[in-house]
Symmetry: C2
Subunit: 462 residues, 2 copies
């Protein structure tokens, strides 16, 4: 079994993925024609991650058809790679017994990630199908809070006492090769109470001569992660320190597990996904949801926005008499609100990101707010000049142009101030700034934009 | 040197980071008081990533003051961890000679990442200060395109011929321990023409008995990454396959380097940062830029948005006569535009994300668009009812309420359609959908929102 060394020469640059559109199309066609054998031939050589991808891209009907065709040699690893909505659908289709059989064949941490998503009766039935020792580990893991280091870590790890040598460590691993985790990157040196003293990257162990003691080559500058640590903080630490694995300790400081970077990559991805979706006003995992679920999940956000839109309208309503006398105001007023909204969104995006990456802190908050006020003020002046000229040319009314320009400056400064302070205040209040900042921001820039423009117009023009 | 095993017991849960606000405050105070010794005492125990963090949080003046105090034992690893803007500032402050000395002490791939950011004369001077063999490696690396696998990979790796045994491989590593990369996770088995045949995770090598051949334990189901592959695709592959390292091959299929997951984590982070910033209309790395640079970088986006705002105003301008007869229209019209914009942004956010993660493809594009039309239509009907009732209560005019409701349905459907098709079309055209989708989308929802509402009003009400 040898990879074909000629492949990279012939393959186009994009060939990093196995799964191309042709393949997906081929599977869909073969399913439609009822050629089960052909479908199996197409699926067989695929990596489980690609099978997961393929399942996600199919319509719900095609999905169940494909599942029925490949049911006999279904690789449960596929489940770990699926998007939540699709996974739930497939788990429902499989039923608890088939699921239990499939999950029992997985590595304990992969099994764990599937089981933690199940609830009540389903979880019970799947757990019962898993052999005793592994089930105990999984049940212990389920006791840790959601999204904590305890949920993320794998329980199997290699730890050795401080008096061992490199040679003895290697011999131990060769002798007990069955009991070792499938993949690991560091060996942990522990004291008699099983508290970590240091870690040794495998590449260091391998280059060291047998008689040397493990304490002589261990890294002691390591971070111990308490089991209760939030997974977002774990991800931050891994990225910050370029870690590949890290020891997890319980309240007594005892080594209870290790987190490896592949799980952290998934967390980083999830957290980013959440941030982007929240900024866009969408719950996560939306692409594969049924239309009715998508509708329902997006509705509340739109309703909140309707409330702010009505607030903005009410602000305009205060000036009905003014608009009646000068309709040009109705034509120009969206410009002030829209520019404020856009400038505020720029500022808010930077602030929300900087809060998420812990770059915006109490040390520099005032400086950042100060800077945004300056930026808002200067860009406000620039756009005041531009929009003032546009309004003057359009309506040939210099006072109207001045009113527009003044409102523009006010609203851009408000945008800079609100774009930074709203996320900071929400973060301080323990809320996720990505979710709520946008509504507060547009409410402010709309209401203040309309109010300043129409108010100045009422005062100066009429 | 042993870590204090009691530490995790006493430490609060957030103590995963060394750098807390108190420390930053302490450094700032000590700097202000001119107590250089105190500053050094505070900095000395910090990890280089924390020193980088601290530097980022300080004001430019504090930053140069701190740099001057710690200049003598400045750890060049700090540079790799800094945000671009701050790094440029510090590199300017250090001058090329100090920089060259600092960089020469780094691992070749870290040195590489700093040098690739420099230009012309500065790059020349720093390169000249680096010893011959390492300089040659770095210069070769600089020949690869920006953001390619060639730039990301480390050139040092461990490869062994197919006829070696586990024992011989370990002996080789012990004998040539100086020539090995600092950290590595896989060993690559190559053919006589140096083309990769398979890879062996170190944890597997360590658990295998000495006489066993490397080909017996190697993994052959590995992905070969062509040097020219875009780093975004590399990141996708690592996440998809839970990789920790992967072999990079040249056009002839020969092994030229290996990419490790720590660099990929940085890429994932960068790419996400870019997506979020682009969706918010901001260039990356904005927090630390000087106010004038921030102003300049945000201006073009605001200018584009001004153009779309003026287009929306022009649409309203078509109906000046209509508004003159019924000012309530001016009060209500922003509701239609705003709801369309928000619904469209939700849809667009999902589509842009799904395109970035390759979940939205030609296989499912039509289905996704269809679903969004349904979602838009149904949410449109719901909000038509709600806003219609509001308008009726507010202005006691049932026809006005019907006009608002009808415009709402039209604009929500347009939002669903535009929110999916705009990103897909931009992606097909080779543009980054995160950057431009928003402008096109709000232009459509504003123009169509105002036009439908005012047009229907002109037709039905007057």
């Amino acid at each position: 079994m040898v990879t074909d060394p000629a492949a990279p020469e012939d393959a186009p640059e994009e060939a990093v993925y196995d799964l191309d559109a042709d393949l997906a199309g081929g599977v869909v066609r073969a399913l439609a024609e009822g050629r089960a054998g052909r479908v199996r031939d197409l699926i067989q050589p695929l990596h489980y991650a690609d099978v997961a991808d393929l399942l996600e891209r199919l319509s719900p009907d095609e999905r169940t058809a494909l599942l029925d065709v490949i049911a006999d040699d279904f690789d449960a690893d596929v489940l770990s790679e699926l998007d939540d909505t699709v996974r739930d659908e497939i788990i429902d289709h499989m039923g608890p017994d088939d699921l239990a059989t499939a999950v029992a064949g997985l590595e304990s941490d992969d099994a764990f990630h599937i089981i933690e998503e199940l609830d009540g009766e389903e979880r019970r039935r799947v757990l019962d199908a898993i052999p005793g020792a592994e089930r105990a580990l999984i049940e212990e893991g389920l006791a840790y809070p959601d999204d904590s280091a305890g949920r993320l870590m794998q329980r199997e790890l290699v730890s050795v006492p401080a008096y061992w040598t490199v040679g003895r460590t290697i011999d131990f691993m060769r002798a007990d090769s069955e009991g070792l985790p499938e993949v690991f990157y560091d060996i942990f040196v522990v004291d008699p109470r099983h508290r970590p003293l240091g870690s040794i990257p495998l590449s260091r162990l391998l280059r060291t001569k047998r008689p040397i003691g493990v304490t002589d080559i261990m890294e002691t500058e390591m971070k111990l992660i308490p089991v209760a640590t939030d997974q977002e903080d774990v991800a931050f630490l891994f990225r910050q320190r370029d870690l590949v694995s890290a020891p997890v300790v319980d309240e007594g400081g005892r080594l209870v597990g290790a987190i490896t970077v592949d799980d952290v990559v998934d967390v980083i991805h999830e957290e980013h996904e959440e941030d982007i979706m929240h900024l866009g006003g969408v719950p996560v995992d939306d692409l594969y949801s049924a239309a009715v679920d998508t509708m329902r999940s997006r509705f509340p956000w739109l309703l909140v926005n309707l409330a702010t839109a009505i607030l903005a309208s009410a602000t305009i309503g205060l000036f009905e008499a003014t608009i009646e006398q000068m309709v040009a105001l109705a034509v120009l007023m969206p410009i002030v609100a829209s520019m404020g909204g856009n400038a505020g969104t720029q500022t808010m995006t930077v602030a929300v990101r900087a809060l998420a990456t812990k770059e915006l802190t109490s040390t520099n908050a005032l400086r950042v707010i100060g800077k945004e006020l300056i930026v808002g003020g200067f860009n406000g002046i620039l756009f005041a000049v531009i929009t003032g000229l546009v309004a003057w040319l359009w309506f040939a009314d210099p006072t109207l142009a001045v009113v527009l320009a003044m409102a523009m400056i006010v609203n851009m400064v408000v945008a800079g101030l609100a774009g930074t302070t709203i996320p900071i205040v929400l973060e301080r209040a323990g809320k996720d700034p990505a979710i709520a900042s946008g509504v507060f921001l547009t409410t402010m820039t709309d209401v203040i934009g309309f109010f300043t423009f129409l108010g100045l117009a009422a005062w100066l023009l009429l």
